[in-house]
């Protein structure tokens, strides 16, 4: 794709284009001059120059923790970075309720749970609970949403069964525990179960969690993925815009600020 004009950018430390990067890591060796040199060598091998090992500390008898500053000559053409263009402004709480009321004309039904063995409801609660997260109201607070938060350790099939009973518009699956990629495995199983129940492609299926991103969620067969820092209103916007698109009330190619990508 041809770009209009090149826009080269590099990290900004305290001068334009100085390329300064900070790194920290641990080596499984005792603290010594040799360990420090090994750290510097490691960073040089990554392509950095001007390597300064700022701190080398004995994190334990046989582990050394490093903080390193270095410069990178790598650059990025910002004009060549492509993400979906932002066309619509993100709607706020009142605007969303108004749109639901006027354009959708009924309450939007949302189910959420931590499925599988995951017991950590922090994520799903942050998005769904009345209280919300970081000053952003949870979906339960919206008069336009009818929310069912089933909590933790809900079997995938059970979540789907209950959501189908209420003809849910969207199902939110939260996966917090990520050891050995258990979140991916369980998410896959959810999609399998959704396909068996024939809701895949009909009901909006959303995946959230600290190690989830939109691309991973799409690969797994979800409609969207929400990672760290997601606010309830991001999810609310996604659900409302997707519904409007499905109803033909918004162009399919419309994107909004805060949309997962």
């Amino acid at each position: 794709m041809p770009s209009a004009a090149r826009q080269i950018i590099r990290p900004y430390g305290d001068r334009r284009d100085d390329g300064v990067v900070q790194l920290s890591f641990t080596f499984p060796v005792p603290l010594s001059e040799k360990a420090k040199e090994a750290a510097a060598e490691f960073v040089r091998k990554m392509g950095f120059s001007d390597v300064k090992v700022a701190a080398a500390e004995a994190a334990a008898d046989n582990y050394t923790f490093f903080i390193v500053y270095a410069k990178s000559a790598v650059q990025v053409d910002y004009a060549e970075v492509h993400v979906p263009e932002l066309l619509a402004r993100k709607l706020d709480y009142d605007e969303l309720n108004q749109v639901i009321d006027e354009e959708i004309g009924r309450r939007v039904i949302i189910f959420g749970a931590c499925t599988g063995t995951d017991t950590h409801t922090v994520g799903i609660d942050a998005i769904l609970n009345m209280k919300g997260y970081a000053g952003d109201y949870g979906l339960e607070r919206y008069p336009g949403f009818e929310v069912y938060n089933l909590g933790s350790q809900v079997p995938n099939a059970e979540l789907i069964r209950l959501a189908m009973q209420k003809s849910a518009d969207a199902i939110l699956v939260s996966q917090v525990v990520t050891q050995r990629d258990v979140h991916k495995e369980n998410a896959r199983q959810f999609i399998e179960a959704a396909k068996e129940s024939r809701i895949h492609g009909r009901t909006m299926l959303l995946l959230g969690g600290p190690r989830v991103d939109h691309r991973l969620a799409l690969e797994l067969g979800f409609d969207a993925g929400f990672g760290p820092g997601t606010k309830p209103s991001d999810v609310a916007n996604f659900i409302v815009h997707s519904l409007l698109k499905r109803m033909g009330k918004e162009p399919k190619e419309l994107h909004f600020q805060g949309e997962p990508h």
């Binding site: 920290s24 890591f25 641990t26 500390e57 004995a58 994190a59 334990a60 008898d61 046989n62 582990y63 923790f65 063995t117 995951d118 017991t119 409801t121 922090v122 609660d125 942050a126 609970n129 209280k131 970081a134 000053g135 909590g151 350790q153 525990v177 990520t178 050891q179 050995r180 258990v182 600290p210 190690r211 760290p228 820092g229």
Partner: protein, 516 residues
Amino acid sequence: MAGPFVDDSQIERARSLASETTRPVLELIRRHTTVSIERTVLRLLGISGAGSRGVPLANLMVERLRAAGVLNRGAAYWYGRALHLGAKSPLEVVERLTNAPLPPQTLPSPELDAKLREEVRRETRAAVEDLRRRVRAREDLRRELGMPKPPHKYVIVATGNIHDDVDQAQAAAQAGADVIAVIRSTAQSLLDYVPHGATTEGYGGTYATQENFRIMREALDRESRKLGRYIQLTNYSSGLCMAEIAFCAAFERLDMLLNDAMYGILFRDINMRRTFIDQYFSRRICALSGIIINTGEDNYITTADAYESAHTVIASQFINESFAKAAGLQDWQLGLGHSYEIDPARPETLLLELSQAMLVRRCFPNAPLKYMPPTKHKQTDIFFSHAYDVMADLVAIWTRQGIQLLGMMTEAMHTPLLADRYVALKAASYVHQAARGIDEEFEVRGDGRISARARAVFAAAIELLEECRADGLVAAISKGRFGDVKRDELGGKGLEGVLEKSPDYFNPLLEILEAI
């Protein structure tokens, strides 16, 4: 100094409301036993192995007795009957009671019945004496090496592999940790058995097994000797196996256990009756073994809002204390939990947090207290996250917390990297050293914001305790008063494992535990 905030008489009132609240529950506890309690008795008597496909022998035997409808007389009773039929070892007892028809319900004579009970009592006394010897060995090592000044810095390992956990625990101890917690594998609390043997595969943590306890405690003994200071070990006596885990932990000389009277009900949807009955027995074992319990009130304010629900923490602490005292625990064993969870976007959060922590200290002056770090509002900006944790370090030293679980700057992302623990320990050591004694230098003004907030929180706690006393604890839980979570008395997991004791119920371990 922590302000007085409220009169002694008001604190006495909170305490008496809590004990009136727990009294009817203690009645329920007295009349019932559970499969987990019965398995604990069998484990003490030496039935600790596992059969084919890893099913613990204690489970095999208890399940057989439950299915036959005779478990309500106590597993120890049937253990005695198997001995009487010629079983020569715990293994033979299991063999006799699982692979052959059960002995008839009654014995030929009351004399024989009494003789048989006396024999099992004798074996139980010997087993408890052995347990006590092991506990004394732990006390001796603690005395020999000495314990650091509180707050004891507590960090978590959670690799899933006990041998990797050992490496990380030793590294943490070398970096200054005083307490190591091995996080359990996700959802172990819902297993109605304790897995067997050393384990190397777990999700989100490492299975709590007696063998894993032994491996970690022995490694920490070696590390403690090397470092010249005693490193404590903790695990989780919660879920469907509270009592058994408490026994395994006591036997392997653990120092602390997470153990809460209501946590399983609220956060793991374990049946209310099951939890109340199991917590009592598990705490009796902790009382015998000098184990410090850590309660879980901090969890309430991860689901409910920390500012609006602060009083539920105080009310629950009084209830947890009442249950603990009824099970024979002493003040020094009560690591009552609370945490730094107020939304940092709010103004004056340090004042609010100091107020809450000081109020807890005021209500429970002789308990060690267990202080938890921020988690709910943690950000992926690790630099901010670290600053946030340092504030918790300051509140911990200021309010004389006994145990402080250190926050990790990567809390919002993943289980801690090795270096994250190092960074947290270095900062906490610095703050504790820098601010030690600060509470003696500053008095909280009686007409200021900290005092006003503490008084308001305490008043709301009294109101909640009054409601609990009037309506009952069951009703309060079913209305979502704690942690915004609602549970029914007959709902949740594990109710089928609760049995009403028969009139001739026999539990020689409980006899000893209640006689202390």
